[in-house]
Symmetry: C2
Subunit: 558 residues, 2 copies
C-alpha cells in the first residue's frame, strides 16, 4: 500500500526557487574575473538563470545533453549551473588545473556540446579548440566590452545571452533521478572517471550542509566557498547557502593567502570550506599580519586530506577560527563524515583528539570497515580496514563505465581510505590504501606521521612515503618543507617525533624539499615523490637521523 | 538520462538502524504507565523492535495491513511504531481523547487488524470490543505481572511477545512511497479523515527537526516530547532524536504542570515540543515555584494554535525558557513553518513581533496565500488569504477518500488557516477560515484579539468568537478565563485593549467563563462556545464594556 502524500520530486530548481522567494534579497558576492567585488542577490541570479536556460534551449540543448563549465567560483558560474541543470541537461564541471590533454579527454568522453568558460582559460581553449570535438559552442563568461579581445571565432557572450532571452522558462518537472551534474575524479591511476550526480543525490546531500551537527548552515551565516565549484559541487555549499538563505561569497581564482585573508576581514564570513593546504597558508599569513581579524569564521569546514591537529589548535587559539574536519570524495558528493564534538566540552586532549579525527557519518550515510579477506573490522579504535560507504549521495558506478569490481563491492563504494573507528563511531583515517607503509609486517600510518612532523613549528609541509628496505620490506621516508630561514635538521625532527610516536615509526631519513608536489585538487601528490625517490632525484636532499628507526625499536606487539 | 548514484530508499528502518549503530548508548527515558522513570537505549529499543516485528509477522501481519496503537508517549510505543512500520505495515495512531464512538468509527474505517494498547485504555476497549470489528488481536503494552488484572479474553502481553521472538528480522527493502502511518484529523465537521503518511514523507520531514534554523536538533540535545505520539507523529521528534542521537524523554500521560515541571527540573531537557495551553499551565506553575529550574529549555517548540506573545516573553524573561512557534497540521506531517529569528538580534519590539509570528516556510515547503476568487494575495504583511501548501510531506488526499475539492486545489492543500505574509516571508496567522469575524465588511483577527487579551496579567485564557449583529453583521465576543481571585471586569479589559488594537476591534461584550472548552488535541474548541452562545448558556456570564466597539470607531479604511 502506498502513502497518500504529494508527489514532489527533489529537483534542484526548487532550491533556487526557494532562495528567490524566501531570501530574494540575500547577497551573492563575487570577485569578478577582473578583480573588483561584484554584488548580486538570489532573486537576480534566479531571473538571470531563467534567461540563460532559454539561451541554452535556443542553442539546441535538450534533456540529457552535457554542458561543460570551465570556471572559478562566481555568481555567473552559479547562474550557469542552475540554467543547465534545471532544464534536465547535465552540468559537467571541468577542473582547470588538469593538463590540456586530460581536459580534452574528459570533454570528449563526456561528449560536451556547449562549453562555458571564464576569460582566464581562453588561451588553452583557443590552442586546443580543434581537439574538443563534440563542443558546438563556447560561451565566454563576460560582457560585450570584453568580447573584442577574446579571439575565438563564433564564441558567444554570456551577458548578451542573458540580455537577449526572456525570463519565462519552465524549470524541473522531471524524474528526481535525472542526471544533473558530472564531475571527473582526478584519477591517480588510469584515465579520469566521471561521477554522474542526480538531482535527488545533490538535493539530499544539500541537507548535510543545513544540519546543526554538521555544517549547520543558517540564514544567519555568510558562507565563503573557497573550495572550487568544479570540485564536487564546492561541497554543496552553494546549494546549501541558497536553501538556508545565507549570503554567499565567491573568490574567483584569488585563492592565495593574501587576497583570501583580505576578503575574510572585509566580508566577515562565518562559515568557509577549503582544503588544509590553503588553511595552512592562511595561518602563516594571519600570524604575520596580526592586525587582520579573521575571527568571524566560527565554523570553517576542512577536508580533502587529513587536517593537522596543530593547524586547528593554532588557528583557534591564536585567531579564534574554528576548523572542523569533513571527510569524503567526489564519489560521495562529497561529504560523508564530519567531526564536530560537543561544543560545551572542555577543550582537553580528548576533545582535540576528536577534532583531529574525521568524525561520525552523516545521517543517510552507512559506513563499514573491511579488512583482509573481505571481513568486517570491529569498531574498537585500533583495528583498521578500508572504508566502504553506502547512501543516497554515493556513486553506484562511473559514467560510461563498466561494472568496476575494484571500486564497488555489492552496493558499497570502496573508498580506498584506510581507517579505524572507535566505539562512539569516530572515524580516524590512517592512510590511503595506496599510501600505506608496511614495515616488518606492521602498519605505519603516513597520515599520523605527517601530522606529528607538521606539529613542529619549523615545518610547513610533510609528506611520508614508503622507501624499500631489504630487512623490513618498507621504511617511512619523510619529505619535509621547512619555514624560510629555519635550520632544523633530521636529528631534531627525529627527537621531536620520539615523544609523539612509537620509536619504530620514526624515519631513519628525512628529505628536505622546497615544496610538496600537489595534485590538480591541491592534495599532496605522493606519486611524484615516489617517482623522484625511484629516479634518484631526492638523493641529494636526504639526511639521516639517529634518533629512532626500526632497528632501535621494540618488537612490534601487533 | 538518469544519474548513476546508489539506489537507497528513504525508509524508516534506516533511522533506527542509524541510531543503534552510531548512538546506541543514548537514552530513552520514559515515565512508565505505573509512574516510575524507566531508562533504555536506542540499541535496546532497536533489538526489542526487531523481536516485536517478528511477533507481528507471527500474528499474520502483512505489508499494507493496519496495526493501531492506543498509547501515551513511551519507549514501548516507539518500539511498536518501528516494529509495525519497518515491515511495511501501517501504524495507525489512535487519539485516546476521542469519544469511544469516534474511536470505533476510525478503527473500522482503517480496518485495523491488531491493536496495541496501554493499560489505561482497557476499560474503553473492554466495553467497546465488540464494535471494533476488524481487530483480531489486542496487545497490552505491559509485562506478565500486570496481565492478570487485564480482564480481556485473548489479549496478548507486549513483554511476552518481545521475549518469545528472535532478533533476526529483515527490515525495509520496499518502495519508499510505501504507507507507514495513518493519523485521523480531529474533524471539526463531519467524520474524522485519515492522513496516510509514507516512509518517504516521514523520512524527509525528519530533516525539519535537524536543520539549524528550525528545531535544530543535535547530538547534544535532550528532547522532551510532550506532544503526543498519536498526534502527527509527535511532530517528528522521536524520529529526529533517533537520527541526531539525542536523548529522548517521554512523559506517558503525566502532562499536568506539576509532573512536567518536576520532570524538566530533574532530566534537564534542552528541547521540548508542546501546545500553548500546556506551556501556559507550566508558566503558572513555574511562577508559583521559583525554586524549580526550567532554564535548560533553550529551544521549546510550540504549535497547534497561535502562541501568545506575552507567554513567550514571560517564560523567557522570568525562567530562561525560549519558546519558538511552529505552524502546521496533521496533513502537513505536521511542521510547515517555524519562527526562529536571528539569535544575535536585539530583543526589541521587532524581534518579539517576529517571535509572535508563525515564521518562514521550511525548505521543501511551498506556500501561497489565496484570496477571494482564487486570486493569489501579495506578501505585503497586510493582505490576508487562505494558506495553501505543497511539498513532499503534505497530504495529497485522505485515506479511502474521494477527490476532495474543498481541501485540495490542483496539487495544493487548502489549510483553512487565514494569514498575511510580510515581504521577508514571515507568516502571521490571523484566523481559522471558519473562525473569521467580518464586521461591517472588514476582518477582525480573532487570534490577534485573543493574544492581546491574554497579555493582561489577570487573564489565563481568551477565546474570541463572532456574535451576530444586526447593523455590522458580526461583532467579536471575547470569552475570558480569569486567574483565581481576580476581579478584573469588562471595562478594564476594554481599556487594556484600547492601547493595543484598533478601537472598532474592541468587543462590546466579554463572557467570563471557568474554562475554554478544548478539542481532543487540546485546541480551543470554538464550536462549543458558538453552541453555548446560540443556546443562551453564555447569557448570564456576559458583561458589557463601554470602552470601544464598532459604534465608537472610525470608518475602517480598508
Amino acid at each position: 500500500m502506498l502513502g497518500l502524500m504529494q508527489d514532489w520530486p527533489l529537483t534542484l530548481d526548487k532550491i533556487l526557487d526557494h532562495a528567490a522567494r524566501w531570501h530574494g534579497e540575500r547577497e551573492i558576492v563575487s570577485r569578478s574575473v577582473e578583480g573588483p567585488i561584484v554584488r548580486t542577490t538570489y532573486a537576480e541570479v534566479h531571473r538571470r538563470a531563467k534567461r540563460l536556460s532559454n539561451a541554452l534551449k535556443g542553442l539546441g540543448i535538450k534533456p540529457g545533453d552535457r554542458v561543460a563549465t570551465l570556471a572559478w567560483n562566481s555568481a555567473r558560474h552559479i547562474e550557469a549551473w542552475y540554467a543547465i541543470m534545471v532544464i534536465g541537461a547535465v552540468c559537467h564541471t571541468l577542473n582547470p588545473r588538469l593538463f590540456p590533454d586530460q581536459l580534452c579527454y574528459i570533454i570528449n568522453h563526456a561528449e560536451d556540446q556547449v562549453l562555458f568558460t571564464d576569460l582566464t582559460f581562453l588561451p588553452t581553449i583557443i590552442e586546443r579548440r580543434a581537439d574538443m570535438k563534440t563542443v558546438r559552442q563556447v560561451i565566454v563568461m563576460t560582457d560585450e566590452g570584453h568580447m573584442a579581445s577574446v579571439g575565438l571565432d563564433g564564441a558567444l557572450c554570456f551577458e548578451t545571452l542573458v540580455e537577449e532571452n526572456g525570463e519565462d522558462c519552465a524549470w524541473g518537472g522531471f524524474d528526481e533521478n535525472t542526471a544533473c551534474g558530472l564531475c571527473y575524479t582526478s584519477g591517480t591511476t588510469g584515465n579520469p572517471k566521471g561521477v554522474l550526480y542526480s538531482h535527488r543525490s545533490n538535493f539530499l546531500h544539500t541537507l548535510v550542509t543545513l544540519q546543526r551537527d554538521f555544517m549547520g548552515l543558517s540564514v544567519q551565516d555568510t558562507v565563503l566557498a573557497v573550495v572550487p565549484m568544479f570540485h564536487a559541487n564546492a561541497w554543496g555549499l552553494p546549494h546549501g547557502a541558497a536553501l538556508a538563505g545565507a549570503d554567499l561569497i565567491l573568490p574567483d581564482r584569488f585563492l592565495q593567502a593574501e587576497p583570501l585573508a583580505q576578503l575574510i576581514a572585509a566580508e566577515r564570513p562565518t562559515l568557509m570550506g577549503c582544503v588544509p593546504t590553503i588553511f595552512a597558508d592562511l595561518l602563516r599569513y594571519a600570524d604575520e599580519h596580526p592586525d587582520l581579524d579573521l575571527s568571524s569564521l566560527s565554523n570553517a569546514a576542512c577536508g580533502g586530506s587529513a587536517v593537522p591537529r596543530q593547524l586547528m589548535r593554532d588557528f583557534q587559539e591564536r585567531h579564534g577560527v574554528r576548523i572542523f574536519q569533513a571527510w569524503g570524495m567526489t564519489e560521495t558528493s562529497p561529504v560523508a563524515t564530519y567531526s564536530r564534538p560537543d561544543e560545551n566540552a572542555e577543550h582537553d586532549d580528548a576533545y582535540w583528539d576528536d577534532r583531529a579525527r574525521q568524525g561520525r557519518a552523516m545521517p543517510w550515510v552507512e559506513l563499514r570497515l573491511i579488512g583482509d579477506g573481505g571481513v568486517e573490522v570491529p569498531w574498537d579504535g585500533q583495528s583498521t580496514g578500508e572504508i566502504e560507504v553506502r547512501g543516497p549521495w554515493i556513486a553506484a558506478r562511473y559514467f560510461h563505465g563498466e561494472e568496476d569490481d575494484e571500486k564497488f563491492d555489492s552496493g558499497w563504494l570502496r573508498t580506498g581510505d584506510i581507517a579505524a573507528v572507535d566505539d562512539r563511531g569516530y572515524v580516524q583515517i590512517t592512510d590511503r590504501s595506496k599510501d600505506v607503509i608496511k614495515s616488518g609486517g606492521e602498519w605505519i600510518s603516513s597520515v599520523e606521521l605527517e601530522n606529528e612532523v607538521m606539529a613542529h613549528p619549523a615545518v610547513i609541509e610533510a609528506a611520508v612515503i614508503a622507501r624499500p628496505d631489504e630487512r623490513w620490506a618498507e621504511r617511512p621516508l619523510c619529505c619535509v618543507v621547512l619555514r624560510e630561514g629555519s635550520t632544523v635538521d633530521a636529528q631534531e625532527l627525529a627527537e621531536h617525533l620520539s615523544e609523539r610516536v612509537a620509536k619504530w615509526w620514526i624515519p631513519e631519513e628525512f628529505a628536505f624539499i622546497e615544496e610538496v608536489p600537489k595534485t590538480s585538487v591541491g592534495k599532496f601528490d605522493k606519486k611524484v615523490l615516489r617517482a623522484m625517490l625511484a629516479d634518484g632525484s631526492l638523493e641529494g636532499r636526504m639526511r639521516a637521523s639517529s634518533g629512532g628507526g626500526r632497528e632501535g625499536g621494540p618488537t612490534p606487539s601487533r
